[in-house]
């Protein structure tokens, strides 16, 4: 069974300039799929097209078999898919508690019980419930952003570079939370620049180049594939890619 199915998605920021030129993917409940690729490959644009922040020019998006292609963000959220953006992903002038309640904006009657469940999963948020989000560290804000997204009990969670700007320790901790979220039954699609580490925790990986599927398969196998490592992960380096998707060796 597939929670999210995307076929030949096409779109971008301008009518004549398609950043995404034909992306297909599928994520099952409880599965963690990472999308990696060079800068400008269209990874974040795919997420914006899926959630209605950008309108697709072609292709089809289905949630649990229901066509949600081109629906506005509110309708996509109601259908069960939620995005945690890369930057500015919490309301800085709102408290932790208020941020979480905004995650349940469409169903305020359930806000209290959902907040208790989210705080149970992320105890840090319970400890800081009255703290303004802008005063939290980057890692804490990412956890708050995840908690806010999970308030709506999504069937599909989209994460846009959740470890961007985090320390290695915070990134590892966050990857653990992402893995645990998937294990709870949520279908997780994660765009990540930290490709090597992302593939280590993912079930499957999709490599995008120039707005199209370039490689896909089980993440551990792709991570070990010498061709993939040579082409996209820079051998023994940190797994970051240049804009063309070609190898960029970094010193060990």
């Amino acid at each position: 069974m597939t929670a999210l199915a995307v076929e030949d998605l096409v779109g971008g920021y301008a009518a004549a300039d398609h950043v995404v030129k034909g992306v297909s993917l599928a994520v099952a409940p409880g599965e963690l799929v990472c999308v990696i690729g060079p800068n400008g490959a269209g990874k974040s644009t795919v997420l914006k097209l899926l959630t209605g922040l950008l309108r697709p020019r072609g292709g089809r998006v289905a949630l649990d078999g229901r066509d949600v292609t081109g629906l506005p963000p509110r309708a996509v959220l109601e259908a069960g898919m939620v995005l945690v953006p890369q930057e500015r992903n919490v309301f800085g002038t709102l408290t932790v508690e208020e941020n979480l309640s905004m995650g349940c904006f469409l169903d305020p009657r359930r806000a209290r019980s959902r907040m208790a469940a989210v705080m149970d999963r992320f105890p840090l948020l319970a400890e800081r419930r009255r703290q303004l989000a802008r005063t939290m560290s980057g890692g804490q804000r990412q956890i708050l952003a995840m908690g806010q997204a999970l308030m709506s009990e999504p069937r599909v969670l989209l994460l846009d570079e959740p470890t961007a700007g985090l320390s290695p320790k915070a990134a590892t901790d966050l990857f653990g939370l992402v893995r645990a979220t998937a294990a709870s039954g949520v279908a997780v699609l994660m765009v990540e620049q930290n490709a090597l580490q992302a593939m280590e925790i993912s079930d499957r990986a999709l490599v995008l180049v120039d707005g199209r599927n370039a490689h896909e398969g089980p993440a551990p196998a792709l991570a070990r594939d010498p061709a993939i490592r040579r082409l996209f992960l820079g051998g023994r380096g940190q797994g970051r890619m240049d804009t063309t998707g070609t190898a960029r060796e970094t010193s060990p």
């Binding site: 963000p73 509110r74 995005l83």
Partner: protein, 288 residues
């Protein structure tokens, strides 16, 4: 001299608290819709007249007249937004500000056409000032001060505890994220304009209670309202209150040293000083 200064401080705090009501409306609209609504002065005048009609023609008590002023101005604010400002939304904040200025002139002259240029007064009992040693405070001043505080308290509770108020703060903070969480920005914008304009109307009536009502009662406030919002930080709710009290005190103290005709210069000086030294204002980060 010290007594005169303290009396000016008392008067300034009261005047500033009243000024904070329309300044809150102005800054709330800026925070959510990202443009300065210069119709705020004319909207304050609408509120002053609506309250006056409610009080003198309908015989409403002051609190009910104030509620009528809020409601009438909320409607007027929505008409200004939909008829004049919204059609120019895609042209940017400057065009929206100019549209609001033009709509304000239309409103002001419509009121002049309907009510004439005469000064109007509310149906208030004549009361002696209360004396505390060397200082004097008018009972009407105190009532206006209390009504302004009550209006601010209600706004605070609305923003803090209501779902719509929280959505307004969320849109002001991060519009895209609010959209992703299911907030309807168009509905929030409409509520913000109604509340912001309603506050301007209440402010206009409170000023009218303190002085009198004429077609320019709100227009005379525009510079002080703008200066208060800029000083506090455009888009900052606590900033608007702090800025308004500071402007109110500064205007009253300035009268001790200069001819009262120059009191409006205070607003200009504050705007120039803030934009030169601290463009984000005291509490804001948006103005920079």
């Amino acid at each position: 001299m010290i007594e005169a200064l303290l009396q000016a401080l008392i008067n300034g705090v009261i005047a500033g608290t009243i000024l904070a009501v329309p300044a809150l409306g102005f800054t709330a609209i800026f925070a959510v819709l990202n443009y300065p609504n210069f119709a705020i002065g004319a909207l304050a005048t609408v509120g002053a007249y609506a309250g006056w009609v409610g009080n003198t023609a309908l015989g409403l008590p002051m609190v009910a007249a104030l509620a009528l002023a809020f409601a009438a101005t909320a409607v007027a604010g929505l008409v200004v937004q939909w008829a004049a400002v919204k059609p120019l939304e895609s042209a940017g904040a400057l065009m929206m500000a100019i549209a609001s200025l033009a709509a304000g002139l239309v409103l002001e002259n419509a009121l002049r056409f309907g009510f004439g240029n005469d000064l109007r007064g509310y149906d208030l009992p004549l009361l002696r000032d209360w004396r505390f040693g060397e200082f004097r405070v008018g009972p009407q001043q105190v009532q206006n001060f209390a009504l302004a505080l009550a209006a601010m308290g209600l706004l605070w509770a609305f923003l803090r505890y209501s779902r719509t108020g929280r959505a307004m703060r969320a849109v002001a903070d991060n519009r895209d994220l609010a959209l992703l969480r299911g907030v309807d920005p168009a509905r929030v914008a409409a509520v913000t304009v109604a509340v912001g304009a309603g506050l301007a109307g209440m402010g206009g009536m409170l000023v009218g209670l303190d002085t009198s009502v004429d077609p320019l009662v709100g227009t005379r406030l525009v510079l002080s309202i703008f200066a208060a919002a800029v000083l506090g930080g455009l888009g900052s709710i606590p900033g608007a209150v702090a800025g308004a009290i500071a402007i109110g005190v500064a205007e009253e103290v300035a009268v001790l040293a200069f001819n009262p005709a120059y009191r409006l210069v205070v607003g200009f000086v504050v705007i120039l000083a803030v934009l030169t030294l601290r463009p984000a204002g005291l509490f804001g980060a948006r103005a920079s």
